[in-house]
Amino acid sequence: MLDVSLKHYLLVAALMFAAGVGVIISRRNAIAVLCGVELILNAAALNFVAFNRYSAPSGRLDGQVFTIFIIILAAAEAAIALAILLNLFQQTNTVDVDEADTLRE
Amino acid sequence: MLLTLATFLPLLGMVVVLLLPTANKNLIRWTATGFAVAAFVPIIVLTQGYGAGGDRPAVDTLRAEAAAVVAGAPAPMRAQITELLADAKSNTPAFRTFVAADAAHPTDAEKKSLAVRAKLEALEQGGAYKAWHEAWELTLAAASPIAADMRYVEYGQWIPSFNIHYMMGVDGLSMPLIFLTGLLWVLCFVYSFSIEDGVKGYFALFLLLQTGLIGVFCALDFFLFYVFWEIVLLPMYFLIGYWGGTNRLYAAIKFFIYTLVGSVLLLVAMLALYWKDGYDSFNLLTLTSLSGGFDLSFQMWIFMALFMGFAIKVPVFPFHTWLPDAHVQAPTAVSVVLAGVLLKMGGYGFYRFSYTLAPDAGISQTMVLFIGGLGVINIVYGALCAMAQKDFKSLVAYSSVSHMGFVLLGLAAMTTEGIQGSVLQMFNHGVSSAMMFLLVGVLYERAHHRDLDRFGGIGLQMPYYTGFAIIGFFASLGLPGLNGFISEVLVFMGSFNSETFFAGNSAVYGLPRWMVYLALPGVVLTAGYILWTVQRVYMGTAKKEEYKTFRDLNWREVFSLAPLAAMCIIFGVAPQLILGYMNNTLDHLRTFIVTGGGN
């Protein structure tokens, strides 16, 4: 039977990335789009960890370090997005990216 | 110094006018007029001194500058620079290899120039490359086929890191146009005393426009030329856009966009020339010295880009559509300078740039047929359109399109008479069209409309005015004895000759005679629409009571019209007065294009 190799992880990540893009394309709700972004970030992070395991020079953990930063920054980004969203919601009662359209005349 | 004065006095005038109190309109008017007169003084001096020994030939100036540059280089390098300069022309391909060649694996062409390259590298290490380049540019400029007639040359560093210089000069091609500019500004300012709205801005912009125009005709550095060229655009936009008629905003932006498209093409061509073979030169004379060596495909390319840029300005069919709009909307004085001088920027550009920088392309069959064909279309189409106009001003505008066609036709013919006629036509049209727009303006100020069908019998009411009008319109028609006749005849003679003249010369394609036949109906049409107009407006008895109250010309109007009328007659009787300036220049130019370019 097949051995689990780098390519398998990469394919899983690619699928998650594709799903994330699908979410971003099909959703208009800001929070849902944010969920799609999380999928993409996870795909990239999974890539980093897998590459770190399979093809980086031994002894170096660059990929894992990168992943930690991805997770931290994702958290910060989500916090900002939701803070702005809450503020906007207090003004307009909508979270729809398209409905928030006073900017488009 | 004279050229700098003529160019920048108006700019100084603009600053002074802007500093004057807005409320004191008369002070502004007189100050502006004063500056226009002041700028006309050095121009008069120029015309008197040109060729009469009061000037110094460009060749001398340039050689002296080159010697000074060599003398200023580090001492150990001077001998090497002089050695390289001895054969300035044949050393030029080394530039490119110097810049780009791979020393380890040279191609054959590069091997040849490796010796020169080594010398250049030695100069670079000795810190004298810049000086050598400068001296080289000047040496080539002095050897340029159009340098012989260039006078009053001023030369100075401007942007050393891009080899951009402040270089001005005049020859027989630019002299009449500079004179025309200086004169028209004085006349227009006097005429414009009737402007009441935004006086300060009006005169300031007008003065800025003058700086741009005189600069365009004097600049011998391509970059400098381009800056002046663009400076012309902006005041024109505002002059039409603020003081124009009801549809002025549309006309102004249309004018601006059309000419901007042309400018941009000009810019690309300029950069391509600068980059070409690593010469890194904006010096027009240097470039003409080198242009014979450019390969034909490059020349075609450059020619087309430059042609487009200038053709929009002329304007050549099918780029002419901005012209009637601009003219109809523009205030009278702006129309006058637009027709009188701005259109000539295009014609001047053909001679100064297109044909000298791409001589082989200019005499190729494609281009001769192309330019000649466009000339014919301009003549006939312009006349037909003029005939169909109801608006007096738009009739005059289309007559400009038609008359500028002669410039193209004579140019395509490339015979002595053709070129002389063509350049003379630029000057003559500048005089007669300026006059016609003034005439239309005078009438419009009284009638407040320009509908040809509603006029009639003006001759009875305003005899002096009608007298001027007859001179202006007949000059434009080409009546023998008036100036328009001479240039049109020369153009036709030249273009008839072209085919036989160049029959034995395989390098030059003569303008085919059938094309001239096609242009001939244009003359008849011109006579037709002008006579018809004169009849409709000036002849007959007054149609309307209102015309009975029209005053005849006031002193300002007479002052503006009289010099132009005088010129129509004087240059009709004694064209030699203008041709005398041009003959040598145009001869050298023509010889260069026809033979020098073919190497």
Binding site: V4, L6, A14, N52, S58, V65, T67, I84, D96 | -
Partner: protein, 174 residues
């Protein structure tokens, strides 16, 4: 035919990561979107551990699932009166189809890329032993600068987010 434990675990976790990821595209309401995302992120955490990145796996659970997802759910609750009915913004079948088709194309391209020859395997293959200590050392030596900087980032993000989400008291205060 021997199927080792690692292989089974991989496929199980891969399914847990990928299937919910696509359910995020398909889900009807916004709460379900969030919960499918939760499942997917758990799968990824498992994959991390399978790859020997135990610390990352735990961080994933703590920060992502414990932090970000809670934040998202919190946002959903705050901004919606009836979250289970609130559509997740997909304006019907068509946009779901668009999403799936795009996803398919993206996946096809990426699959071609990741299955290509450019990714050398096993050059410096690590053995998959726990990495917490080594990771800590890396963060405090080679990566000490980003590590410190990210603390500044979190500081101003916290202050900024607090300022942003705070009720507008300052208008009265000012």
């Amino acid at each position: 035919m021997d199927i080792d434990f690692g292989t089974i675990m991989f496929f199980a976790l891969a399914l847990v990561a990928v299937v919910p990821a696509f359910m995020v595209v398909l889900a009807r309401d916004i709460v379900r979107v969030a919960f499918w995302l939760l499942a997917s992120l758990c799968g990824v955490a498992g994959l991390y551990i399978l790859l020997g990145a135990d610390f990352i796996g735990l961080t994933q659970v703590l920060v992502y699932i414990g932090g970000i997802l809670v934040l998202i759910l919190f946002g959903i609750m705050m901004t919606s009166k009836d979250p289970l009915r609130q559509k997740a913004g997909a304006s019907g079948q068509r946009s779901v189809v668009t999403g799936l088709v795009t996803a398919a194309i993206v996946f096809a391209v990426l699959a071609a890329v990741v299955l290509g020859v450019g990714f050398e395997e096993g050059k410096g293959r690590s053995d998959g032993s726990p990495t917490t200590t080594a990771l800590g050392e890396a963060l405090l030596t080679d990566y000490v600068l980003p590590f410190e900087l990210v603390s500044v980032l979190l500081l101003f993000v916290l202050c900024g987010a607090a300022y942003m989400a705070r009720r507008r008291r300052e208008d009265a205060h000012a």
